[in-house]
């Protein structure tokens, strides 16, 4: 009888011990772009190297993802273990204690290899809250063949006045060729990202030292008038609905003589499967006007761990892997050296093979080195960020201002009306948020 009881107990104990160790599930919320899709494609490689971690992907469009992640992190929903966030969210969420600090990064990871400006943009008081997957600045793309034909020469860093004179010469709408393509589609990450850098170079800023908006000042007025005038006279029709993708399609199909946008576009316009002008593209720094401060923006898509995650250690393991030098090497082997995530690590640009394979790399490096989120305006400013102000209210304010600027470009209101309304809206929001009374 005792034997039977012992056997039953032993069987029960054996059954209670799982035969295989259950893997930790790491759910990653990310955006849909080339670099992230390539990372998703290497899931099996990661799981092979770390068999006790399973990766689950939630890929969403940028704005949807932002809303989804914000809801989850603010309510401590715990649906994600790794979040893809931008340079705007990282310091705000980090300060609120919503993100796990990246304080114990292993030495072999070489955190000092990350561009200092990117590292600072993802930190609060020296504590890193996210590790960059890739980063970008902005620059000028131009058609070398058209410039040659017209006897024009693009300077290393043109001024907006020069850009305007080039656009005037190269604008031939009857032949489907437009002098310049710029963002016009409303959105804080669309037209306002570009327009803020333009205003920076005209000597403007979003807020003065007392957090009062400056839309009705002479800098914003002259910059927005210049922008509307430039695009209305030498831009493509319907420019107010063109964002990054629309301009990329126009430039890639040979319709734009010049285009100012993200350095990430370099890999698209030089890719023969996506572009018809691969060998006719020149690169220059983003234009300046009264100052070169804040001419090129700085943005990074980075990986962070929400405080509500139940798999923090596994999530860290994944993030170290996905943002490491070894990952870059793996991508180079699998997808070609030009496919390495750009802008995050300095060592990428020390690699001669990469510099030769990616004709846009040298200018990207220069633009990344010049962008400084702490010093991007002529006059002093109370906020961090080149093309945004890293405060929670900015997203809502800039979305509304973006619509007004797009309206001014479309001709549904004057520049003066758009700026006055922007001043009113921003003042109201800043007062409501108690920045001042």
């Amino acid at each position: 009888m005792n034997r039977i009881i012992s056997a039953v107990i032993a069987a029960g104990l054996a059954a209670s011990i799982p035969l295989t160790h259950a893997a930790t599930k790491v759910t990653i919320g990310t955006v849909n772009n080339g670099d992230m899709v390539r990372m998703q494609g290497l899931t099996k490689e990661f799981e092979k190297a770390y068999p006790d971690i399973d990766l689950e992907w939630v890929v969403l469009e940028e704005n949807v993802l932002r809303q989804r992640l914000t809801t989850d992190i603010a309510t401590k929903g715990g649906q994600f273990d790794v979040m893809t966030i931008g340079m705007y969210e990282a310091p705000i969420w980090g300060e609120k204690g919503w993100l796990e600090p990246m304080s114990s990064v292993p030495e072999s990871y070489d955190v000092d290899d990350i561009f200092p400006s990117v590292r600072n943009g993802l930190s609060v008081d020296g504590t890193l809250y996210a590790l960059p997957f890739y980063a970008e600045s902005s620059m000028t793309y131009y058609r070398t063949d058209l410039f040659e034909q017209a006897g024009l020469e693009m300077p290393e860093q043109p001024t907006w006045t020069q850009i305007r004179s080039f656009a005037k010469v190269l604008h031939e709408p009857e032949q489907g060729q437009y002098g310049i393509c710029l963002r016009g589609k409303a959105g804080w990450g669309e037209n306002m990202a570009f327009l803020t850098t333009m205003v920076n170079t005209f000597g403007g800023r979003w807020f003065d030292e007392n957090w009062k908006p400056e839309f009705t000042g002479k800098e914003w007025t002259s910059a927005v008038n210049f922008y509307v005038d430039l695009l209305s006279n030498y831009g493509p029709p319907g420019a107010s609905s063109n964002g990054f993708n629309e301009n990329l399609a126009l430039f890639s199909s040979g319709k734009c003589a010049m285009w100012m946008d993200s350095t990430v576009a370099g890999s698209f316009v030089t890719d023969a499967t996506q572009s018809e002008v691969t060998d006719k593209v020149g690169f220059a720094l983003a234009p300046t006007q009264v100052t070169d401060k804040g001419a090129g923006w700085l943005w990074s898509w980075a990986l962070a761990i929400p405080d509500s995650s139940n798999a923090k250690e596994a999530a860290k393991t994944f993030i170290y892997w996905a943002t490491s030098k070894e990952y870059s090497e793996l991508i180079a082997q699998r997808n070609g050296i030009a496919a390495i995530p750009p802008g995050s690590r300095q060592s990428t640009y020390a690699n001669q093979q990469y510099m030769q394979a990616a004709p846009f790399a040298a200018k990207t490096l220069e633009a990344m080195s010049l962008a400084d989120p702490n010093n991007s305006t002529l006059k002093p400013k109370p906020y961090i960020g080149v093309q945004f102000a890293a405060i929670p209210e900015f997203q809502a304010i800039a979305t509304q201002v973006g619509k007004l600027m797009s309206g001014a470009l479309a001709g549904s209101m004057t520049v003066e009306q758009a700026l006055k309304s922007s001043q009113k809206i921003t003042t109201r929001e800043m007062k409501r948020a108690r920045y001042y009374r």
Partner: protein
């Protein structure tokens, strides 16, 4: 001068042409989506848009490689059929009592139910999210079934109410006189008489649940995400994506489109039920 007969013929031709025109305008976006799904990204963005091009299956191959289509499709099937079934189970008795045992508050209740559809979903996102989090319903099919049932219930009750209204009360009274129980009265008399209307309610609920995107994007992550979440994963702020997005949208629309096609007879019958008295 046209004779009366010729005038009538001309009228018929004109109405026919107008109907074709309207049908083409409605169908054009779907046609363009299917066409774009067979283009390369460069062709998809070409200006002027290309009607003739070399077709490719590369977008479908890529979607197949990148995503587990069947898992998303299965989630869509379970969630839309599940919520419709539960919704009908609730809508039929509710509409029955409102039609055949009407009180002075019935009209107000019907209006109140409809008014819940006027509230923007995003207004209740945070409370619902917190509720789902505390009940462990986030990223579960059960959670989505509950929310879809609640969303579609007002419309379902309204539709069933309208169809039941068409049934003469005398017929049910006759059944009762013959000794039918409440269940028999509903199951054997009422439901067969309003079959067409119920079928169109089921179809409408299925289509609404299948296409719902706000809650499915916000309440699911990796496990319970339906096809609407799959579509959203192919939109990109940086890079060309129209052809891939068209391919995944075609794949997402196909099952419900085919289902609608097969059952269009019931749908048309149900929708026109009561229109001609």
């Amino acid at each position: 001068m046209l004779s009366i007969k010729q005038g009538k013929q001309l009228n018929t031709v004109l109405i026919g042409l107008l109907a074709w025109g309207v049908a083409l305008v409605i169908f054009f976006p779907i046609f363009w989506m299917i066409l774009t799904s067979f283009k390369t990204e460069i062709d998809a963005f070409a200006t002027p848009p290309q009607l003739f091009f070399t077709p490719t299956l590369e977008n479908y191959t890529l979607v197949n490689e990148r995503s587990d289509y069947l898992r998303f499709a299965w989630n869509s099937v379970v969630v839309s059929f599940g919520s419709t079934a539960i919704g009908m189970l609730l809508a039929i008795p509710a509409a029955y009592s409102m039609v055949f045992y009407e009180t002075k508050r019935t009209k107000s209740i019907l209006l109140w139910m409809l008014s819940t559809k006027m509230l923007p979903s995003v207004g209740v996102l945070v409370p619902i999210y917190l509720l789902f989090k505390n009940l462990s319903l986030l990223d579960t099919r059960t959670g989505l079934i509950i929310i879809y049932t609640l969303i579609n219930l007002p419309i379902m009750i309204w539709m069933v109410y309208t169809y039941f209204k068409e049934i003469p009360k005398d017929v049910l009274e006759a059944a009762r006189m013959d000794g039918a129980t409440l269940f028999q009265e509903i199951w054997q008399v009422l439901l067969p008489m309003s079959k067409g209307g119920l079928a169109s309610t089921v179809l409408l609920s299925l289509i609404l649940s299948w296409n719902e995107a706000f809650w499915s994007l916000n309440l699911t992550a990796s496990q319970a995400a339906p096809l609407t979440a799959l579509i959203a994963s192919y939109s990109s702020p940086e890079g060309l994506f129209w052809a891939k997005l068209s391919a995944v949208s075609t794949l997402a629309c196909a099952p419900i489109l085919i289902f609608g096609w097969i059952s269009q007879k019931q749908l048309v019958r149900g929708l026109s039920f009561g229109a001609v008295k």
